[in-house]
Amino acid sequence: MSEHIVQPRVYLMIFLALMAGTGLTVVAAFYDFPGPLNAVVALTIAVIKATLVVLYFMHVRYSGRLIWLVIGSAIFWLAIMFALTISDYWTRTWFVPM
């Protein structure tokens, strides 16, 4: 069996990184970044945190291609749902009925 055992030290480091990320995102929220950057900053931190959890706590870094594929497809389909729905909302005002 090709089970990989992640060492507690790694878990601890990931844990600390996650806590730091949480602190950072709270602090960043009170700064006003220009334009849409507020959301970008908050979401980037969230994505990084989620990635760490997936890769280490959920062992995906040590898992086979199939698991990567499964996760990839979830993200892909979510992207389809967002992109095509937003394509409607985005372009609704292009056609001003005047």
Binding site: T93, F95, V96, P97, M98
Partner: protein, 336 residues
């Protein structure tokens, strides 16, 4: 008037085009259906099992054939797409110089209001050879105005205005239907479009004259709802912005973006004034949500539209009396 042919009456400038596309797709459909049926039937007879123990030679497949029968359908499908999209664009491209009719659907009836004031229920009179634009909304659920003879259909969605237009080519009486399921009496929510010769139409208009036009009714509402307290007795402005010439103009908002003031924008400004604030003004306008019915709202919109002479659609209108709104507003109002 209903023929035995399985095709509805063709009575608008669009219907011929839609029919052509329709028959083209039928052509392709029949071709492929026949092709496949004939080939299948031929194989099934030709290669029927003659001996219970026979094993035919296996055939692997062919890349050439696979390519052929993916590419040909794709090319044909693209012709469907291009043709269909072109017509669709034409259908939804807003009409210029159109007669505007306000439509309010409610369970289970249709109310039409002409710019000249005539109100009708489940019946719509229009002249032949003029574009007619329906500006539609609903007081309750989603409905849909479907006129088979004109090949048009559009949902009427709560909370916003949708539009569709047609230009009738043949006088006559045509069925129209509510084509979006809307509850108990959905199938009863239908009526007739009466297409008349222009002179007849003039007669009809004058025979039904004397009703307040939407713009005039809107003018009255503008007073009774207290809009004048901020926008001025003649909408010349005050605590709120002047509304003269707003319709059709680009409005600059307080976040420096700008929007074109169409019917939908005016509607939103009244129901949800905080959503888009005009630059230089505070959020003091109250929402009129719940205090004004959809019909009244359309009247107020008509009034505000009448304050604008730069109505793009009517800029080049030939002086057809039916299209000139007989407004109760001060005609001397000049756009800013």
């Amino acid at each position: 008037m209903q023929s035995w042919l399985p095709v509805p009456e063709s009575a608008s400038t669009l219907s011929g085009d839609v029919d052509a596309l329709y028959f083209y797709i039928w052509g392709v459909t029949i071709f492929f259906t026949l092709l496949i049926s004939v080939v299948v039937i031929f194989f099934v007879i030709r290669y029927r099992r003659r001996n219970p123990f026979e094993i035919p030679r296996p055939i692997e497949g062919s890349h050439k054939l696979e390519t052929l029968w993916s590419v040909i359908p794709l090319l044909i499908a693209i012709t469907f797409f291009v043709w269909g999209a072109k017509l669709y664009f034409a259908q939804y491209k807003p009409a210029q110089n159109a007669i505007e009719v306000y439509v309010v659907g409610k369970q289970w009836m249709w109310k039409f209001q002409h710019a000249t004031g005539q109100r009708e229920i489940n019946e719509l009179h229009v002249p032949v050879g003029r574009k007619v634009k329906l500006i539609m909304t609903t007081e309750d659920v989603i409905h849909d105005v479907f006129v088979p003879a004109f090949r048009i259909k559009a949902d009427v969605v709560a909370g916003k205005y949708t539009t569709e237009w047609f230009e009738a080519t043949k006088p006559g009486t045509y069925n129209f239907f509510c084509a979006e399921y809307c509850g108990m009496n959905h199938s009863g929510m239908r009526g007739y479009v009466v297409v008349m010769e222009p002179t007849e139409y003039e007669n009809w208009l004058s025979g039904n004259a004397g009703q307040t036009s939407p713009a005039a009714a809107g003018r009255n509402l503008f007073e009774s709802l207290g809009c004048i307290s901020c926008h001025g007795a003649n909408a010349e402005g005050g605590r709120g912005p002047a509304l003269l010439g707003v319709y059709g103009s680009k409005v600059v908002l307080n976040n420096n973006s700008s929007v074109t003031a169409d019917e939908g924008y005016i509607r939103e400004s009244i129901l949800n004034p905080q959503a888009k604030l005009v630059t230089g003004f505070g959020p003091i306008m109250p929402s009129f949500q719940g205090q004004i019915s959809e019909e009244q709202l359309l009247d107020v919109v008509a009034y505000i539209k009448s304050l604008s002479t730069t109505k793009p659609e009517q800029a080049t209108a030939k002086p057809a009396p039916s299209a000139t709104p007989s407004t109760g507003a001060k005609p001397s109002a000049t756009p800013k």
